[in-house]
């Protein structure tokens, strides 16, 4: 069934988009991530311009992270204090990100920047995750105990605050910086940033695993809502019809993914996720390096009717 997307200005097959949403939802449910880093490239692949893809995926991630955050909230797995400090940074970062997005679009370098950010971020995070998963797998195979967590330099920073539910005593400076960073790259790349945020919170901020995913989902939810709003107001690029189809497919797929994810061991899961992220990054890299099929592109500046 063909459906005409009003903002993307393109007819698409509804079932194809639904299936894409479900597939990405499955992966995101399995790994407990938003899945934006898979959704945006897939949309670009079926011919939607990177700008519209980034803007529309933001609302899709908002939907899936809201359903996630609700169930974590019921299980009291969200740290409200930590979430609000992260949000202060996150909202600032998103606003900066959307502003940068607009500027880059005017310069005609937006597509390049999206591709470059994907390459840099995904290959780095992917290979880190992959090697970490590999090491963890080796350790369990050898039967060794994981190294004990120690405090690092971050815990020496001033302006400390007590986060009750997470049971940590931490400076607000790194939390704000992390929030800003995630908000910024999320707005530019159309990702929730969960797959970066969760490792940072675990390894750098030493947030306990009980609250880390729920809290990161709150940040994702709010930054993506703000990103949707700002993209709609400044660039008029959010395709609500596209977003709705993605949401419906996404939240459904996520439920099955979550069940599948419980059957796989944590290290293997991380290894798989690392591999997945790495392969998306490499794909973008290849696209940048090989000679494009067409050296020319056209963009409409504004229709005068």
């Amino acid at each position: 069934m063909q459906l005409y997307l009003p903002i993307a200005d393109l007819p698409v097959n509804v079932f194809l988009v639904l299936a894409m949403g479900a597939a990405v939802g499955f992966v995101s449910g399995m790994f407990g991530i938003g899945g934006g880093f898979l959704m945006t490239p897939l949309l670009i692949f079926i011919g939607i311009t990177p700008a519209v893809a980034v803007a529309s995926v933001a609302s899709h991630i908002a939907a899936s992270s809201f359903s996630g955050a609700l169930s974590y909230w019921r299980r009291r797995a969200i740290d409200p204090a930590l979430a609000s400090v992260l949000l202060c940074g996150g909202v600032t970062g998103t606003a900066l990100g959307v502003w940068t997005f607009t500027q880059l679009r005017a310069l005609g370098q937006l597509d390049l920047m999206i591709a470059l950010s994907y390459v840099v971020l995904l290959t780095t995070v992917g290979s880190l995750m992959f090697s970490e998963g590999l090491r963890a797998l080796m350790r369990t195979r050898r039967g060794a105990v994981p190294p004990r967590r120690t405090h690092n330099w971050i815990h020496g920073l001033p302006l400390k605050m007590r986060f009750k539910r997470s049971k940590i005593y931490l400076s607000v400076i790194p939390v704000l910086i992390v929030g800003t960073m995630i908000g910024f790259i999320g707005a530019i790349m159309g990702i929730g940033g969960g797959f970066i945020l969760v490792p940072i919170m675990i390894y750098l901020l030493r947030v306990p695993t009980s609250t880390v995913i729920g809290t990161s989902m709150v940040l994702t939810l709010v930054t993506m809502l703000v990103a949707t709003l700002l993209h709609a107001v400044t660039n008029h690029l959010v395709d609500a019809v596209l977003a709705l189809i993605l949401m419906v497919g996404g939240v459904t797929g996520a439920q099955f993914g979550a069940r599948a994810g419980q059957k796989i061991r944590g290290e293997q899961l991380r290894l798989l996720l690392g591999l997945l992220i790495l392969s998306v990054g490499v794909r973008f890299a290849i696209e940048l390096v090989i000679r494009p099929e067409d050296l020319f592109t056209i963009r409409e500046v504004g229709v005068s009717t």
Partner: protein
């Protein structure tokens, strides 16, 4: 002064007297609606050449050139170049108020209809259509084989938005003709002008114009206009929709 004016008037009168033919045309649909399941369609333009007493008796064979011009817009064409091992946009040209849709149809090859000089003046053929570029502060069209110009035309043609077909016009009788106007799925909305030029023995005899419009209707038109005009409300609605979907999912799939 008076004499030149009279002479001009005489030429004008003679000129109009020489225009012994009249063109009567109509399109099959003056208002094309783009619905959510719109996947392109074809309009039909038909018409006839009306002769009168002053038409030279030896004039029997006519040639027709039909130009369809969609709503005009500014467009930027960019060229990628290899820099630091990766392909990035470097150079660009801005095309000013160029048609977003352009189709040129005729009953036989353009060069067989008229001389290159007239074809250029009457903008017949994609190579002769005026596409104004902004070249470092200047406004001009460039030579037809300019890299940006030909890339622009090639890309628009690939999307079905620019086309020329010198065999699309068919004469059903020596004076009655028809041609199809294919509109692709991603057709720009707005007013489309159609220019019909009648040639005989290589000279422009007469021309006429008609138009049709393409409008989006229903839900999707509503979405598109709201997004453009009420960005804030649209954004809020989309955000609310996201929250609703997420909330519904958490109710439907609730496990505890």
């Amino acid at each position: 002064m008076m004499r030149t004016l009279l002479a001009a008037l005489l030429v004008l009168l003679l000129g109009s007297a020489a225009q012994a033919e009249r063109l009567i045309v109509s399109v099959s649909n003056h208002r094309v609606t783009v619905t959510p399941n719109y996947s392109g369609e074809e309009l039909v333009l038909f018409g006839s050449v009306e002769k009168d007493a002053t038409t030279p008796a030896d004039r029997t064979a006519y040639d027709l050139v039909v130009t369809v011009i969609g709503p005009r817009a500014d467009m930027v064409t960019r060229r990628k170049e290899r820099k630091f091992g990766i392909w990035i946009n470097t150079d660009y040209r801005q095309f000013l108020q160029v048609p977003s849709y352009l189709a040129l149809f005729a009953n036989r090859p353009f060069d067989a209809i008229t001389s290159p000089e007239i074809a250029r003046r009457q903008q017949i053929g994609l190579n002769n259509v005026l596409l104004t570029q902004r070249v470092s502060g200047d406004f001009a069209d460039v030579v037809p084989n300019d890299a940006f110009r030909s890339a622009f035309i090639r890309l628009r043609t690939e999307r079905g938005l620019y086309r020329e077909d010198p065999s699309a016009v068919t004469f059903l009788t020596p004076t009655v003709f028809r041609t199809g106007i294919p509109l692709p799925a991603e057709v720009p909305i707005g007013t489309y002008e159609i220019e019909i030029k009648l040639f005989a023995n290589g000279a422009l005899v007469t021309k006429t114009e008609t138009a049709f419009e393409i409008v989006k209707v229903g839900f999707e038109q509503f979405v598109a206009t709201t997004a453009r005009q009420n960005g804030l409300i649209y954004g809020l609605a989309t955000a609310a929709m996201a929250l609703m979907t997420g909330w519904m999912a958490s109710i439907v799939f609730r496990k505890d």
